[in-house]
Symmetry: C2
Subunit: 430 residues, 2 copies
């Protein structure tokens, strides 16, 4: 349940999609790493907050207690700490596992690919962070998924908001988790969860509500830097200062048009410490001329400066920022689009079918195809001793093979091959 | 334990190796499929014989009872049956899981890649089987791993041998499993396991010993076809007839030089029903001029005509033959060779580093690199506001970036970029 086989047409589409993403990661100078699907359970414990219950655990069959990785970020942090690496730009494309309620029509599965790009190391502020946003912008533009917006916020700004609204520090994370639901629930429901489940005072909740419903650009940053309360809060001020710097860099990259500083963005995971972001696709304007509405998150990420230190015996920190591309959601969209267009994706790359028009020529076919393979040419033949020529040409049409190399008695006698263009039916002897 | 992270240098080598294998599979017209790492436990039960104890099981956390796939063949058979597919040529490159005793120095892990190519469907005999052997031959030749031999046998011939040696049919599989150990143990030990553990009569064991120590080519096939006992056994005769046909096809493919018909080859898995094969690398002749010795299996496979039917509610069979490339063993060999050669594999593909020679030019770097990325050029810059030029050029040398695009105050004023060849130090203004 919640997993799926990929038949050839889907596997081919996925390959195409993954190579677009990987080529962007490589364009930005990332190296690949690979980590096991299995991690020690203790590695995953305490990293994911409320979501930890979704971790798949392996049976105790003797030996270590294992679990399936939940994302690629925690294994990356574990890898850095284990190998004492303090600087690295890496990408990782692999499957992760979550015992979630699958919603397969919306592209949500229990086994799914993640495509992660992360920059680890102590650098000047906001330069790597800006590059992560540039990457999201490049990938979503390249894939022509339609209009999108990248929401940006900072955990420090959120924590500042909670502080000035009178939330005790012990409740920052629960408050954050609740704010995160604003993309799915109206403010009223989020407010009642804050007050009811999370035990915030109604005044604090209302006060938070005034902040987290704000979104804008540089103007909003400036406004909040002037906010009498927020500007007095040290972490909020740091966050806002960095946000301003980030917008400066994004202007140089020419992508601020798609960026929205959005105080409702919180991100569910515990480990973020600074900038956070999430890209959502916008539905094309509908017939009523209404504003575009979000149709779901397709990329997300942020800064997590404390995670690597959790794996280091001496707690040495390695600052990190990274982005994860939500390949499954994008895959669903591309799949639907391909279906609607009626276009048929080839599932093989075969260039030529080796065919014979008469009987008793299997040996000739086998000799010829062997020569073609040895020359690096992608070639197939039917696995029949004496197939009909029509069947062989039909196979080309069904599978999109553009050429047939036909060898008959005459061709054998003349020492040639008849090369036939399947679409135009033109033939040449070579 | 028994798993490993792949740092960038290993990941790059693995990528190179996997693409060589995949490009061969594509050359033979295979389509890709993907199946989940998780399978229902019941899918895997009863397919692997003695090896089943090595299956990783997931904890019962509610819902279905799951296990990690043990190979890619059983999931492929399950996929064919589930989708009622009766004809398919597919490849699948993915990780599989075995709770084996890891021997990591010899490239044996608990999590490892398999690269499988299989042909499913009812075809004329031995044509797809011959193609599988051609694929093994192509891949091992392409990778220049040194001399190798592909051992070929047929389960029907082995069963015929057991029958004429007086083994009851119920003991064919145990006898087969024991013969399979002949590549690691001397005949004496295999014989004593047959008589002791498996309960064969000493006479039967001795008789089997006479057969399974034979190996050769077409001559041996002819000899066994004349064997007074074996030629009377129906399945053995079928197997020998097909073996003869296979050799005919392999002659057309020009690869019989590396093929050995070897009666000691048995293959451990239960599901094989016909042709089986295994490729082993041969150690280069040593100083004493001794015969080359096997240094381990690097590919294997065979025909399994009954497996798909085990997943079909009506037991409908789909004949299959396939090959699995032992990528981990090959990877170990290539890794050792690379190490010995001192060659350093680049782990990134960056073409140009965007650099500045003076301070306060971060904006110029960011603008230029953004243009390069948008033009599809693989570019990096250091994440520092004011890095020293020497540091920037050093980074190019360390990571193998061939070019530096330098933009200083003069270049900015002139509207040019100084392009520097890192190795030769030659510069041009563009």
């Amino acid at each position: 349940q919640g997993t799926r086989d990929h038949p050839p047409a889907q596997a081919a589409l996925r390959d195409r999609l993954l190579s677009a993403v990987v080529s962007c990661f490589k364009r930005h100078g990332a190296a690949a790493i690979d980590t096991p699907v299995l991690e020690l359970r203790e590695t995953l414990v305490g990293k994911y907050g409320e979501e930890a219950k979704l971790i798949y655990e392996l049976q105790d069959q003797g030996g270590e207690l294992l679990a399936l990785r939940y994302d690629l970020t925690v294994p990356f942090a574990r890898y850095l700490a284990m190998n004492k690496i303090t600087k690295m730009k890496r990408y990782h494309v692999a499957k992760v596992y979550r015992r979630d309620n699958p919603a397969t029509t919306r592209g949500r599965y229990r086994e799914f690919y993640q495509c992660d790009f992360d920059i680890a190391g102590q650098f000047d502020p906001m330069i790597p962070d800006a590059e992560c946003l540039k990457i999201v912008h490049e990938i979503l533009s390249d894939l022509q998924l339609g209009d999108f917006v990248i929401k940006v916020n900072d955990r420090r700004i959120l924590n500042g908001v909670f502080a000035v609204c009178g939330v005790p520090e012990s409740k920052f994370i629960p408050a954050c988790t609740t704010v995160d639901k604003l993309d799915k629930l109206p403010w009223e429901e989020v407010r009642s969860e804050m007050v009811g489940e999370k035990g915030l005072s109604p005044e604090a909740a209302d006060h938070i509500g005034e902040y987290v419903q704000l979104h804008g650009g540089l103007d909003l940053i400036e406004q909040l830097l002037q906010d009498p309360k927020l500007s007095q809060n040290k972490v909020a001020k740091e966050g806002l200062g960095d946000m301003k710097l980030l917008f400066e860099y994004l202007t140089l990259f020419g992508i601020t048009g798609k960026i929205s500083f959005d105080l409702s963005l919180a991100r569910g995971l515990d480990y973020y410490t600074g900038v956070i972001f999430e890209a959502v696709l916008l539905q094309q304007e509908n017939e009523h001329g209404e504003e575009p509405v979000s149709v779901g998150s397709v990329a997300g990420g942020g800064r997590y400066d404390g995670l690597v230190g959790m794996f280091d015996p001496k707690g040495r920190k390695v600052p990190c920022v990274g982005v994860s591309i939500g390949i499954e959601r994008i895959f669903s969209i591309l799949e639907q689009r391909l279906e609607a267009s009626g276009e048929k994706l080839r599932t093989t790359e075969t260039q030529v079918l080796v065919a014979t028009p008469q009987k008793h020529l299997l040996a000739a076919r086998m000799k010829l195809i062997s020569e073609l393979w040895d020359a690096g040419i992608k070639a197939e033949m039917l696995y029949k001793k004496d197939p009909k020529l029509l069947k062989q040409l039909q196979y080309c049409e069904d599978t999109g093979i553009p050429l047939a190399a036909i060898v008959g008695e005459q061709e054998l006698a003349d020492g040639v091959v008849k090369l036939r263009d399947v679409a135009t039916r033109k033939e040449v002897r070579v």
